[in-house]
Amino acid sequence: MAASSRGSRAFRGIFSSSPTICSRCATTRFYSATAATETKAPVTDASPPAASTKTPYPYDIRSGLVLTRPPLLTRTLHPFENAYFFYQKRLEERLNTPFITSIYFKPDTAAQLDWSLKVQERGGTVAKELGTYHGKSSNAWDDELKVGDQLSSQESVLNSLLKDAAARVSDDAEVIAPEDVVPVERPVERLSEADKKNDVRRLDRQMERTLYLVVKGPDGWGFPADVLKDENLHEGAKRVLDQAAGVNMNTWLVGRVPVAHLVQEPVMGKNGEVQKKGRKTFFLKGRIMAGQADLKGNPFGYTDFKWLTREELEKELSPEYFRGVRNMMADR
């Protein structure tokens, strides 16, 4: 578990304790030791390759968080998928064993009357979403749906299921009049109010896609990030999130491993000294389960936030920024 950190300490221990080391130990590479730096200072230099005596590291190490809201809805089917599923269902009607009502419904019960009424209305077809089609009749060959017919759409399937779900026969086995039939409550629309208004601050927008939190800082739009202050990457990311976007979000940081990085090279002067430090930003992935971002009182100077999909991010972020983070973004 903590073997890796022990390894480097042990490595340094070997160096400091025993002056003579076999060549194999000298050249064994642990996690991060590049061969060049270690072989250069084998025995004589017992101190770790620190920045104290040498030039300071020219990069600022920053930790950022890509907070995602994964999709809440299943994807819309491609029109070919809808057409294909309908086609396959009609073929299934041609091949299946017949539906035997007596297995499922006891004779002379309200449920059985309800079922027979609905089947009769569908023209004798048991299937709810296939229109009037009999797979074993002499017209069974005519099973293909014509172009432009909306019967195969998801909307039509939903309507047929809702129509079938309504009770047409009361518990006393009396047929309910059409005007008295209580329709089944329709499910909520997939396009919410936020979609219609295109409110980019709301999290119930674009529920089929992943949304990413971007904030507007002094350097423009980007993911919340800050310089590490004597902490690890995941600790830093957590701190950045709490400070920048508030604690009123039920979030989960997915592990400790960074998913994307951005490197800004330092500006070197004529003599090789560093004029402006470079930046290495490592982003961790987080998921939000509930709540909303709140930029009030954030110490980074973030003024605004948005929840954007991948395509919207491409337009919002600068090209090199987007190229750095694009790989971690899912297709949907």
């Binding site: 903590a2 890796s4 950190s5 996690y31 991060s32 030791a33 590049t34 770790p48 390759p49 920045a51 104290s52 590291y57 990069y59 190490i61 994964p70 999709p71 809440l72 809805l73 299943t74 070919f80 041609r94 091949l95 064993t97 017949p98 035997i100 297995i103 060959w141 293909e144 499910p187 909520v188 629309e189 997939r190 919410s192 709301r202 999290l203 119930d204 529920m207 004597d230 690890n232 990457l233 995941h234 009123n248 039920n250 592990g255 400790r256 491993v257 960074p258 998913v259 994307a260 990085h261 290495k280 490592f282 982003f283 389960m289 509930a290 709540g291 909303q292 983070v325 790989n327 971690m328």
Partner: protein
């Protein structure tokens, strides 16, 4: 024969009765039923005892008449239909078959493209992670931390998996339609 024996027996009984009555009541002139045969009934052929095969139809009749459980017919129908032999393959005219072939090829291609897109997405995500980790490995850590310190810490798996790791109680799977309150914006810690 059994029936005739019984009939003759009946007749004999009737004749006996009638003879008895005639002996008791001399005045009555009852016509005794005349039997076909002159041989006595005691000499009549006796029906053979029921053979061994007779027990099976009797048993079958008995089992058929036995009371059936409430779901007997449902279970029988279910058994016959669930485990029926496969239907014969559909036969189509030539052009209809060509249309079916086209739809099949398109579906296979569509699914292949879907799989390839998933593979590409995965490898892209992995590449992003890998490159970030490579960069991290070469980074000299914040403050006095050595090269790759952050990387080694990032590679540790403490608290990543298991009960403390993944918050499955907040997991939401994708649905066809959103909830009435699609997102709780007012959640407070």
């Amino acid at each position: 024969m059994a029936s005739s024996a019984s009939i003759t027996g009946l007749f004999s009984r009737l004749s006996l009765l009638s003879r008895n009555t005639t002996t008791t009541a001399t005045m009555t002139t009852t016509t005794t039923p005349r039997l076909f045969s002159t041989t006595s009934t005691s000499l009549a052929r006796k029906a053979p005892p029921p053979a061994a095969g007779g027990s099976a139809p009797k048993a079958a009749r008995r089992s058929r008449q036995a009371p059936k459980s409430e779901n007997f017919f449902r279970i029988r129908t279910l058994r016959r239909n669930m485990f029926s032999p496969a239907p014969p393959p559909l036969r189509m005219a030539r052009l209809r078959y060509l249309r079916h072939w086209t739809i099949h090829r398109a579906w296979q291609l569509f699914r292949r493209k879907q799989h390839e897109a998933i593979e590409k997405e995965r490898s892209r995500m992995h590449a992003g992670m890998y490159n970030a980790c490579e960069e991290l490995r070469k980074t000299v850590g914040p403050g006095s931390r050595g090269e790759g310190y952050l990387y080694r810490v990032a590679m540790e798996k403490k608290g990543v998996y298991g009960l403390e790791g993944v918050p499955i109680e907040y997991a939401r799977f994708q649905t066809d339609s959103p909830a009435k309150e699609a997102w709780n914006h007012d959640w407070k810690r």
